[in-house]
């Protein structure tokens, strides 16, 4: 119904090393109206017993989303802007295929509602030219939403990477992860 004013110059950049585990993004995420006031961002300790490292994870909006491919109900779709939308509520059968198949561990299953939900990059905001809630509140800029020129100025020693290798599988995404300068990919397992 709405005429989306999606600014395709704007991109999402994540740098997990900058995450301080403050949970501000989690609170802000719950303000997103497309989530029905449920927080969809993941933030947790990586290995609490040995480290204080925390990580933050938004949906990476894959070019060829595994979640949509394994969905038996055709409930997940990717739009013309490359945004992979949360499950269509009338179709989702709550099977959890997407939850278990996503290589980034993003979708959440609301057990009682028998519904998968996930980050859709605050579509109510981004489709109106605004920034996603999480990126507007992140105090350490672990989550940044802006143009490529802006991030290059802010992080001259980093390179945005959107190619991830999980064993033999190469996954390309709309969302970038900030890597050491000159990197072209991130290999998850040795």
């Amino acid at each position: 119904m709405q005429n989306p004013q999606y600014n395709q110059q704007m991109e999402f950049f994540v740098d997990m090393q900058r995450c301080i585990g403050c949970h501000a993004c989690e609170m802000a995420c719950a303000e997103c109206e497309t989530n029905g006031q449920e927080s969809m961002i993941h933030i947790h300790y990586v290995e609490r017993a040995v480290s204080v490292q925390t990580t933050v994870q938004v949906c990476m909006h894959c070019d060829d989303p595994v979640c949509a491919n394994v969905c038996p109900a055709d409930a997940i779709t990717k739009d013309d802007f490359g945004v992979v939308h949360t499950a269509n509520t009338s179709r989702c059968i709550g099977c959890s295929n997407c939850v278990l198949a996503c290589p980034f561990g993003v979708p959440k299953k609301e057990e009682k509602a028998e519904l998968m939900m996930k980050c859709n990059m605050c579509y109510d905001r981004t489709s109106a030219g605004k920034k996603p809630m999480c990126a507007t509140v992140c105090p350490s800029q672990a989550l940044f939403y802006g143009t490529r020129e802006e991030i290059e100025k802010l992080r001259p020693n980093s390179t945005p990477v959107n190619k991830f290798l999980f064993g033999q599988e190469e996954v390309n995404t709309k969302v970038n992860i900030m890597m050491p300068k000159g990197s072209t990919e991130l290999r998850i397992h040795d």
Binding site: M1, Q17, E33, N69, P72, A73, T89, A101, E110, N120
Partner: protein, 351 residues
Amino acid sequence: MYRLIQTLNRTAFIKATIAAFAVIVLVVLGSRNLQNFDAALIAYLMGAIFAVFGVAYRYSVWLQRPPTRLYWRRSMQFLFSRDFPFYFVRSIRLFFQNILFQRFIYHRSRTRWIGHFLLATGCLIAFAVTIPLTLGWIHFEFKPGNNMLYYAKVFGFEMGSFELGSFVAFMAFHALVWCSVLVTIGAVMMVKRRLTDGGLIATQTFEGDWLPLILLIAISITGLGISYDYTFLQGKTYQFMAVIHAVTVILFLVWIPFGKFFHIFQRLAQLGANLYRYEGRKRGMAVCPHTKEEFATQLHIQDLKEVSKELGFDFTLKDGSSHLDLSPEGKRAALAKAHFEARKNAGAFFG
């Protein structure tokens, strides 16, 4: 036209044609060689046959997708196993819980559940009344020699009777009126959500979300118009009311296979997913190598590895294990650790 023929799914076309012919055969049988068929409903019958063809075609195409096929096969395998009585009873319970009462929607939002329940109940009762009437399976006759006693015949067999002017007669003859009221209230509640919820406003589409509601309201209001006409206007506007109602209903029937209404048929898969989960738990849970906690059934993880491979995604690792062996939290941690290592190897954690 050439493209349509080229992209035609042959298996689905054959199944849909069989389904449509089966309906025609059932019309002939159920109406006792058309003697009980109401010719005034011929346009509705055509719409219904098209809907059956379209739904069967789309359902068949849908079942050919690897993940859907897997769930379908597994559901049938578990249902028709030696535990049939248990799974059958469980399926019936789930049918009431999830299909007739849509309890899962209550956990999404109470108001939404009320709206959907009213709308769905109205539709289901209306289907139960109109489909047998349209197909000639049910009709009403006077008891011979008694023009006050009306009796219902199903497939030509007497199934019950009631007196004209009785409470039962009033309820039966106005069944569709009650359905229209339920559907209208439910649909208006849904319209209100779509007008006021910011998230829905951002993501909704006309054909996907608004058209179904408009059609349901149009059917209900024009249906009520027919009752209004014969109750208060002595049938003076009957032609107009009947034609406009038929147009809305036929549009609805034709739209069923293409739009949102197809979810009525897809929803049954939720029962299969439930049986799958239950059987999987019985067979054993998968433990995440990172969190050391159970997170899914082994059956599900194993099936998912095969389905994703079939779809062209191979997450097998060098040591023979799979990235899919990790729980969602384990996967996020693996990504974070890999990122940490990359930064560490570069000599600076920030940059």
